[in-house]
Symmetry: C2
């Protein structure tokens, strides 16, 4: 099997995707989408994540661009859903690592 970060094109694509995840507002959007079982429209996301309408629109567009969220319009409104299991897997991996590090540094101080 080929190595994961084979060429520079792949490096650019992957850095864009990780960069999309490297922002607190976009993570709040993803958390909202993961927690809510029903599909949410942009207004619902903005309210639940505590963002303005224009801000949520831009962040959602970014998440859709890198393929972490899919966009399906229905008449007047647009519903967004996270791409599973990719998003939850990534969050679980990193959250587990952060928790482990916090626990380790806590125990190191005793």
């Amino acid at each position: 099997m080929k190595p994961a970060l084979a060429n520079d094109t792949m490096i650019d694509e992957v850095s864009c995707l990780f960069g999309a995840l490297g922002d607190a507002s976009r993570l709040k959007i993803l958390r909202t989408l993961l927690d809510t079982k029903k599909p949410l429209n942009q207004g619902g996301v903005a309210e639940a994540a505590g963002l303005s309408q224009a801000n949520a629109s831009k962040h959602l567009a970014c998440l859709v661009r890198v393929g972490l969220v899919v966009r399906n319009p229905e008449g007047n409104t647009v519903y967004f859903t996270p791409v599973l299991p990719l998003v939850s897997d990534l969050c679980d991996l990193v959250c587990g690592h952060v928790s482990d590090r916090a626990k380790a540094s806590y125990h190191a101080l005793r």
Copy 2:
């Protein structure tokens, strides 16, 4: 089990970690460390990744700060190693997703 992105502190930590991955130069460093079996010092990383010394120093410090790379000094030089399997798992997940999307958009154009 608690949801992954539980509180805002976790959001900040995770966004920092993903942000560290969201840069082409840092991904090149990680690719170098993953591909090279021997432990590399800063100069070796900088040369293999095509970065200047000061630039590699800053990026390596960033990766160490978020816990993706560990730093062990030996006398005059400092050797760096990626945190496994976390780094490889994250890269594999995202690279697979990018490949799938590219393949899908290719076949959609026929």
